[in-house]
Symmetry: C2
Subunit: 413 residues, 2 copies
């Protein structure tokens, strides 16, 4: 008998009909002899409805009250789901974050889980019940309701699977799994059967939206086997597991792109100690996240500093930096919003040199100029002009033969 | 400094604009130096929306899960209200039933309050905050969410006022207060300034919908001064208080009517011990409530038994009784749905005889035939043909001069 935690997102439970369908599906898994813990999101549209109410009332909604408000969305879904299971002839019980209890810190709207009590869940599982738990929410020591922020329900599911030592954590979504790249721009994109936590972490941070990065990190830390799969088919999806359990590693597992960044360059910065802090401190004080940073090799004590920020922060960042440039005596500030970050990810890079240069060659063959490059142990990212996005993704996907499964790692790479 | 509990119903908080208006109003009371505890219902329409979801899913929704579902409605309102108070420049905190805690028994969907812990409320009041509390909900010893059934938010407000020893409990609604009769059918209807708990209990049980009967009973037991008033004006409403605090009692305080009942008569019932149980046991087993019961004086060992039930139960009751009549050897079963119960209520009746006969005379003067009569210490109810409802109400209202305040009690009545 396996213990399985499953999470269904908002579109999977977006109507009473869909909730009934999920209940029937879960019942099937239980009848196969599994103990089932089901984490649910709010019905699609519900969180927006509540957020609109809040913004009608308070310009910057109070965070504690925002959590009080938003946590109702998941509460509605789990109550309806428990009813659906009972109507289908089995037994279920719904539990809120504080009823479990899922204890968090008190950082409202983006709380972090501190501990999970599994006693109530186990008691109900042992009584033969399907246990459905509100995603996205927890409770502070004081008893205040918190929410876990973006992707919070995935985090709830993985954390529960870790605490319960579940055999698997299955994340049901509206796609079939994790793909070698975005099927919308590359018809040859292939669903990946198995991928390591580290690769998934890179893919998630690079813009693959199927899994929230926080839940992948949590799964890695507690070695929770993650299964990303479709709500609408019975097909196996993508397993995210430990690297040493994957029989044949791909050299490159996936190609991603991200069009949400903008590039900023400060020209002729005096090259002296502490100058980087002077530039980036006002930026981080304004709550603006910086992604890639490149400082060109300097000659004549002047250097160019280039980095990327979210496009939504671009205007604010430019304003701040124009002041900073004046103060530190830099020559000018230039920006470009029409960029894309193209990345390749694969654990095979750990043991194989030359992947980066292969990537550069492939892009060069297509006449695509690289504006920035950054690398980690298992990924290479290039910034290119936005108009080349699709071309670059397809060329890399082809060159690394990602449409073929288990492409052997050969030494000539 | 007074401590005031105020309750606003669903229509008073039916939109974000209305919630902001309530917040401004409450802020005004706080600025006058009062400590404010605000009990809120779900936004109008919300409970219906959730109930529709449930009925889509489970024919007879599970009661525990129904409470889990419905309790979200009030949670949304208190969160938005707390935001509105903060936006208006003061401080507020929202508390759920289990955060207070309001402990109940485990009779889901119609739980009864067992105890209220006032520590958390007092702590927040002492910190200068407006405390807003979800109406209609509580929590069991085990930690399950319960709801209090019809009129539950009124009950929450009165129970909180009792536990906090509040100076007053104000119920805000969409009418100006309690009227001598329904203003929709009698233009001379007058708002009552003060009324006793007992009179209000009778009015509520007879169909005056402004206050739920359970909350009036609770207010009486704990001597909580209740103030029923309008959300939409600043006018004083109706105070429901102890009888001995009302300077001049009215002989008759109000006239009510109820068109929701139907009359059933079983003819020629053998008049022997235990026969009433044989008739009414199958009815109560079917969950059908019986209101008035009249057994005519018997001759020749045969009697007629007449009683009223809710119109919604009429068809079921008739079916059951036809079988019963066969079994006990009664002659026949007759029913009439086109009836109305007209009642007069007043504590003055305690010390003045002849009120009932005055009522009968007034109805006779209008040519209205009475089909059934029942009396209590402070009320007289008559069943008449439904078509006479308005005529009867107006005639009684006129004859007992209810449009005049403080009509003296004179001995000739």
């Amino acid at each position: 008998m396996a213990l399985i935690v499953q999470k269904f997102g908002g579109t999977s439970v977006g109507s009473t009909e869909k909730i009934k369908a999920v209940a029937r599906r879960v019942l099937g898994y239980q009848q196969q002899g599994n103990q089932m813990v089901i984490v649910l999101s709010a019905m699609s549209g519900e969180t927006d409805r509540l957020t609109d109410f809040a913004q009608d009332i308070q310009k910057i909604p109070n965070r504690r009250e925002m959590d009080m408000l938003l946590s109702t969305g998941e509460q509605v879904t789990i109550a309806l789901f428990a009813m659906a299971v009972k109507e289908a002839g089995s037994d279920a019980v719904s539990l809120l974050g504080d009823q479990v209890a899922i204890r968090t810190d008190d950082m409202h709207t983006k709380a972090r889980i501190k501990s999970i009590d599994t006693a109530e869940i186990k008691k109900n599982l042992d009584a033969g019940k399907i246990v459905t738990i509100a995603g996205f929410q927890g409770v502070t020591e004081k008893g205040d309701i918190t929410t876990l922020g973006r992707g919070g329900s995935d985090t709830t599911a993985v954390a529960l699977a870790a605490a319960l030592k579940a055999d698997a954590c299955e994340i049901f979504t509206d796609v079939e799994g994790v793909y070698t790249t975005d099927p919308n721009i590359c018809v040859k994109a292939r669903k990946i059967d198995c991928i390591s936590y580290d690769e998934m972490l890179e893919l998630a941070s690079l813009g693959a939206k199927v899994l929230d990065i926080r839940s992948v990190g949590l799964a890695k830390r507690y070695r929770v086997p993650l299964h990303v799969r479709s709500t609408f088919t019975e097909n196996e999806g993508t397993w995210v597991i430990e690297e040493d359990k994957i029989m044949e590693s791909m050299l490159v597992s996936g190609v991603t792109y991200n069009k949400n960044e903008a590039r900023i360059t400060i020209k002729h910065v005096p090259d002296q100690p502490g100058i980087a802090a002077k530039i980036f401190l006002p930026i981080s004080d304004a709550g603006i996240l910086v992604d890639m940073i490149i400082q060109n090799t300097s000659d004549s004590h002047l250097t160019d500093m280039t980095f990327t920020v979210m496009r939504s922060d671009y205007a604010r960042a430019m304003e701040i930096l124009k002041n900073v440039a004046r103060e530190i005596g830099a020559k000018s500030v230039h920006g470009d919003q029409d960029i894309a970050k193209i990345s390749i990810v694969g654990v095979g890079m750990r043991n194989h040199s030359g992947i980066a240069s292969t990537m550069f060659q492939i892009l060069a063959n297509e006449g695509i100029n690289m504006e920035m490059v950054s690398t980690s142990e298992i990924k290479v990212s290039c910034v290119v002009a936005e108009k080349y996005t699709e071309l670059a993704v397809r060329a890399l996907h082809d060159a690394f033969v990602l449409d073929k499964e288990n492409m052997p790692i050969e030494e000539e790479f």
